[in-house]
Point group: C2
Chain length 352, copies 2
C-alpha cells in the first residue's frame, strides 16, 4: 500500500478468488467452472471476430443483446451485458444503495456482496441463514434496504422457491430485490419471466458456469427497461466498451447453440446426483444443492484437513474458514470421470 | 431512469462515445482507431485460447504482465492490466482522490476524466489550457490535488515536454500525477522510464490505438510497486477477472510482434504528416498533433457544418460542441488512402 491511497480504502478487504496453483496439474473442482469446453459455435464466432479487433466494440452490444432477449423472451431494452455478472452486481450496489439504503444479504452467501458494499462505502446488513442454511424471506421482509439473494445460494447450493421470492417482491414494491442466478441453469428455474410483473426485480446471470465461458467474462442483467437504463447510465460512466468483440461474439454462439448447452447442463446434474449419492453412502451430510457444486461435511474429518489431503492427492476443492461453514468443503461438479476420481480419493483419505 | 436510482446518480452525465452509425459504410475517422488489423500473432494467440474459455482467466494476468514488463524494462510488480485504460484511470480516481483531494485536469482534455470524478462523487478542478491549447505546468503546480494529464492531450494532440512533467512531479512529491499516454506511441516519447525515479507517477497506456486492439479492451498502468498494489486492491474489490483469456493472449501477441507495431506506427505518423501538410495548403490551421489524429479548423466553414458535410460524403470525423473548440474537427489518422479521400472530400466541400 502506498502513502497516497485515500483513507477510505486503506482498510478495504478485497475479494479472494479460488486459488489457481500452477505447481502441478489438478482436477480443478474449486471455482465452479464447467468441465466442458465452450460451444464450438462460440469458439468459431469468437475466432472469426478477432480480425476486427482494431475497431471498438459496439458499446450497446446490440447483436448480443438481441440474442439474449430472444432467448429469454424479453425486450432488448430489458437487458444489460457486462464484464462477468460481477460487474452488473457492482452496478446494482452503486445504483440502488446509499447511506440511507443499506444492502441486505445473507451471512453465508457469495463473498463479493460484502466487498461491493465496502468498495462503494455503502452500509450493509448480513441476515443469518437459518440453522439448516435455508433462507426465510420473512427475515428480509422486516428489513429496509436493497436485497441481494443468490439463488441457488453459494456455497450451499440451496434454492429458494419462486413463490417465496414473489412474497418478498410484493411485500415492499419500493425497494429493489436482486436475484443473482449464477447457478440457476442447474436448478431448473429462473425468475427472468417475472421482470414484467415486478418493477423492483433485477435478475443477474453469467456465461461463466453453465455456458463454459468463465474465461470470456460475460454476464448480464434482466429487469424492466427503467432499471436497465439506470445500470447503463453507470456503465457509460465507468466503462462503455465493457464487453470486448470476441466475448460478445462467443456469447452469441453460446446462446444459439441450445442443444450443446442443454446436454452439458444435463450431464452436470447427473454427475451432481452421482456425487451426492456416493458421499451420502460414505456418511457425509450434504445440503440439497441445485447448483454445479455440492456442499458437504463429515464427522470423520474436518473440512480444512479434507481440503488439504485432497489437494495433496491432486484434487482441488474449496474450503472456507468462516466459523459457521468451516466444517464443510465445496466441491464443483465436474465430469462424471472427475467425480469418480474425487470419490475414490475421498475413500482413500477416510480409510487411512 | 427508475424511481429507485439513488439520488447521487440522478444528475450524472455519462461519457458519450463517438458515434457508431450502421446506416451505411463510412471511412471511420472519428474514434482514433487504427486503420490496420491487429497483429497476426495477436489474432493467432487469441484464437488458440478460445478453446480454454471454460476456465477463469488468471486474475493476476501473469503471462501478459511478464511480456509488458519485459518490453518496458520494469518489474512485473510495477504493472497492472485492465479492461481498457479507462478502467485503470477509474481506479486511479478512486484510489487517489477524495473529498479533500480533488482531481485536477485541463478544461480541454479526455472527456472521461470529468465523468470519473462525477461517478465517484469526487471534487475536481478544470485548469484552462492556454490560448494556444498548450499546458503550462505552473498552473498545476499551484493547485493541490491529484493531477491527470493526457500526453499527448486529446483532442488537441499537443505534447507536453518530459522536462515539464518532471518539474510538476518534483514540485510536490506528496501528490500523484497520472500521465495518460493513450497516444504516446505516436509521439516518440513516454514517461514509463521515470517510474523508478518518481514514487508519485502513474503512467497509463492502451492497446486500443497503436496496437490495433480497441475491440479487445486492454489497457495498463505502470508505476512503482506500491501504487500498483493500491490499484490491484481496488481491482480485486470490483472485478478480479477483468481481462479475459482471449484478450490477454492477444496482448501477448501484440507486444511480441514488435516489427508489425513499429511499421504501423510509422505509417500513421507519415499519414499524419501528409494530412497536416495538405490541410495547411488548404488554409486550415492545425495544432501540432503528435497523436494519431489531427485537430483543425478553417475560417471558410464552421466545425459542425464541416463535420456534417463530411458525414454526408461518407467520412466520419468528430466534432465537439464545447465553446472553446467548437470551430474544430478532430480527424483520426487512418491509412494514407483514407486520408487522401478525406482531403478530396474536404476540397469538394470547400469548392462549393
Amino acid at each position: 500500500m502506498s502513502n497516497f491511497l485515500t483513507e477510505k480504502y486503506t482498510k478495504l478487504a478485497p475479494y479472494v478468488p479460488g486459488e489457481q496453483p500452477k505447481d502441478k496439474k489438478y482436477i480443478k473442482l474449486n471455482t465452479n467452472e464447467s468441465p466442458f469446453p465452450p460451444s464450438p459455435l462460440a469458439v468459431k464466432l469468437a475466432n472469426d471476430e478477432a480480425k476486427n479487433l482494431m475497431l471498438y466494440s459496439d458499446p450497446d452490444s446490440r447483436d448480443l443483446i438481441k440474442e439474449i432477449a430472444l432467448y429469454y423472451g424479453v425486450n432488448t431494452n430489458q437487458v444489460i451485458v457486462t464484464n462477468g455478472s460481477d460487474e452488473v452486481l457492482n452496478f446494482a450496489f452503486m445504483a440502488y444503495c446509499d447511506s440511507k439504503t443499506p444492502a441486505i444479504f445473507a451471512d453465508i452467501t457469495y463473498g463479493f456482496y460484502k466487498v461491493f458494499a465496502d468498495v462503494n462505502n455503502l452500509p450493509f446488513k448480513e441476515i443469518p441463514l437459518k440453522q439448516d442454511f435455508t433462507i426465510d424471506v420473512n427475515d428480509y421482509i422486516k428489513e429496509d434496504g436493497t436485497v441481494f439473494i443468490a439463488n441457488p445460494n453459494a456455497p450451499t447450493g440451496i434454492k429458494l422457491q419462486l413463490t417465496e421470492i414473489e412474497k418478498l417482491l410484493q411485500s415492499n414494491p419500493n425497494r429493489i430485490v436482486v436475484i443473482d442466478e449464477a447457478y440457476a441453469d442447474f436448478s431448473g428455474e429462473s425468475m427472468v419471466n417475472l421482470v414484467d410483473k415486478y418493477d423492483n426485480l433485477l435478475v443477474t446471470q453469467t456465461f461463466s458456469k453453465s455456458r463454459s465461458m468463465a474465461g470470456a467474462r460475460l454476464g448480464f442483467g434482466i429487469a424492466n427497461a427503467k432499471i436497465i437504463e439506470d445500470l447503463n447510465k453507470i456503465r457509460y460512466s465507468t466503462n462503455p466498451y465493457n464487453v470486448n468483440r470476441m466475448t460478445a461474439s462467443a456469447g452469441i454462439g453460446a446462446i444459439k447453440d441450445k442443444e450443446y448447452f442443454a446436454s452439458n447442463v444435463e450431464k452436470i446434474i447427473k454427475a451432481r446426483e452421482y456425487t451426492q449419492k456416493e458421499l451420502t453412502n460414505l456418511g457425509f451430510s450434504l445440503t440439497d444443492s441445485k447448483a454445479n457444486f455440492v456442499f458437504t461435511k463429515t464427522e470423520k474429518i474436518d473440512g480444512e484437513t479434507l481440503y488439504l489431503k485432497l489437494k495433496e492427492k491432486g484434487v482441488l476443492v474449496r474450503h472456507f474458514s468462516k466459523p459457521r461453514i468451516k466444517d464443510y468443503i465445496r466441491v464443483t461438479v465436474g465430469s462424471i470421470e472427475e467425480m469418480q476420481t474425487f470419490i475414490e480419493k475421498v475413500k482413500e483419505i477416510l480409510e487411512k
